[in-house]
């Protein structure tokens, strides 16, 4: 019973923390766009939080540059359980065009366990919203 209540609440209150691990800005802007009037993710209970300590979902964009590695791991460690990582955009999923660059690791899953991959270059806010909703349903 308690379990069901908690699950109900978790599905309806996903707070995001966004980290750009070296992406081109496109996905990041589209993610921010999700909060604005046309898409308004607050309907789904989604809030963008400022501190890793408050967040449930870590939304990562970018192909993980060598310099982003440390901050990314630190942010993930600071988040309280339960937590999920979402790879937003083709770069974050696989490295995309930057896969072989000398300063790029190529994909969030080289570092962190990824719960959802959202491909697209950049992915549209609709795609992000649908994928997040799908992730929440599956919890």
């Amino acid at each position: 019973m308690l379990d069901r209540v908690v699950r109900w609440a978790r599905k309806r209150s996903p707070w995001l923390l966004h980290y750009n691990s070296g992406g081109c800005n496109g996905c990041d802007i589209e993610l921010l766009d999700l909060l604005t009037p046309r898409y308004d993710a607050e309907q789904l209970g989604i809030l963008k939080e400022a501190s890793p300590r408050h967040a449930d979902l870590l939304i990562c964009t970018g192909p993980v540059t060598l310099k982003s590695r440390e901050p990314l791991l630190r942010i993930y460690a600071q988040m309280p359980e339960p937590k999920w990582v979402v790879a937003l955009g083709s770069c974050a999923c696989s490295g995309s065009v930057f896969r072989d660059c000398y300063h790029v690791m190529g994909g969030i899953d080289r570092l962190l366990p990824v719960a959802r991959y959202i491909p697209g270059c950049p992915c549209r806010p609709e795609a992000t919203a649908a994928a997040l909703k799908d992730l929440l349903e599956s919890l």
Binding site: A9, P37, G45, S51, P80
Partner: protein
């Protein structure tokens, strides 16, 4: 019977349970109103409840270098103080406890959570928490005086510091807001500062200091702090309704509650409108405006009131 009634008042209405429900409803309505004014849809009605349950079910990380007992105790103390204040301030025209000077005690109880919040920020060895905590304290010095001055005018006029007396003086729609608009505005600004709402939300301005004093807190502690802040909003609005808007006007038998709820919505709507229309003040701008504008205006109101009343 007496004991049961007292218990009921403390735990159910207008005490803890009612306080929690109404504060969550108000928190939702606040977000919803702001969203609608910004051209968005806004969160569903159960949002604050879902947020709270989720936070309680989340891992509660202990921050390095912080005494866990103190960190856990501060939000509980803050919530307890706010709940006690809620018992002193009439809901509609129903006050659980009422005595001469309860207005001052209520204000004192309401300022304790602010100090606890400052402490909560100060004990964490993280820059954002400390800077946020400092700002909380700086702002506390700025808004507390206007808030007090603004509420002093009706008290001086009624020659009583008892909230129910103030309400009684306003019976028959002679609301103090009509006679003392300046005092109402000054104390409303003070209240916005106390609740750390836009435009006086510098202590937890996201773009500057993350989540301010609460940056490093997670899970249960964060949930307690959020509940405190929501309940403070309710108590603050109740206080303004009681002191300036005549409490619950009894038009006919059942209308008291209705007018009270209407006033509550209107006041909340006003707060939301201010949030939508203004950019944030810097902390130094807050103190400057407070001491150069709000305090003189509050004093003026007080003098005029005393002079007219005499």
């Amino acid at each position: 019977m007496h004991v049961l009634q007292a218990l009921g008042e403390m735990l159910i209405f207008p005490g803890a349970l009612y306080g929690l429900i109404i504060s969550m409803l108000l928190a939702w309505l606040d977000r919803k109103l702001v969203a609608v004014m910004q051209g968005r849809v806004g969160p569903p009605i159960y949002q604050p409840l879902a947020d709270t349950i989720k936070l309680f079910a989340k891992e509660d990380l202990d921050t390095e270098g912080v005494n866990p007992t103190l960190a856990g105790l501060l939000p509980v103390v803050a919530l307890a103080c706010t709940m006690t204040a809620a018992l002193l301030v009439p809901v509609g025209n129903h006050a659980v406890i009422s005595f001469q000077g309860d207005l001052v005690i209520a204000l004192f109880l309401l300022s304790l959570p602010t100090l606890a919040l400052f402490m909560a920020g100060w004990i964490v060895p993280s820059v954002y928490n400390v800077v946020g905590g400092n700002r909380t304290l700086l702002q506390y010095f700025a808004y507390e005086v206007p808030l007090l001055l603004g509420l002093a005018a009706p008290a001086a006029f009624s020659q009583s510091w008892r909230i129910t007396d103030l309400m009684a003086r306003q019976a028959g729609y002679r609301w103090f807001v009509l006679g003392m608009p300046l005092g109402f505005l000054v104390s409303s600004m003070g209240l916005i500062g106390k609740l750390e709402r836009v435009p006086l939300d510098a202590p937890h301005a996201k773009a500057e200091v993350g989540a301010g004093p609460l940056t490093e807190y997670s899970g249960r502690k964060l949930a307690f702090w959020r509940l405190t802040s929501w309940l403070q909003t309710v108590v603050g609005i109740n206080l303004m309704i009681a002191v300036y808007l005549g409490g619950a006007d009894r038009m006919w038998r059942y209308w008291g509650l209705g007018t009270y709820l209407l006033k509550m919505l209107a006041y909340l709507g006003g707060l939301a409108l201010v949030q939508v229309l203004y950019a944030r003040y810097r902390v130094d701008q807050v103190s400057r405006i407070s001491w150069r504008v709000l305090v003189p205006l509050g004093l003026l109101q007080l003098l005029v009131t005393v002079w007219l009343g005499a």
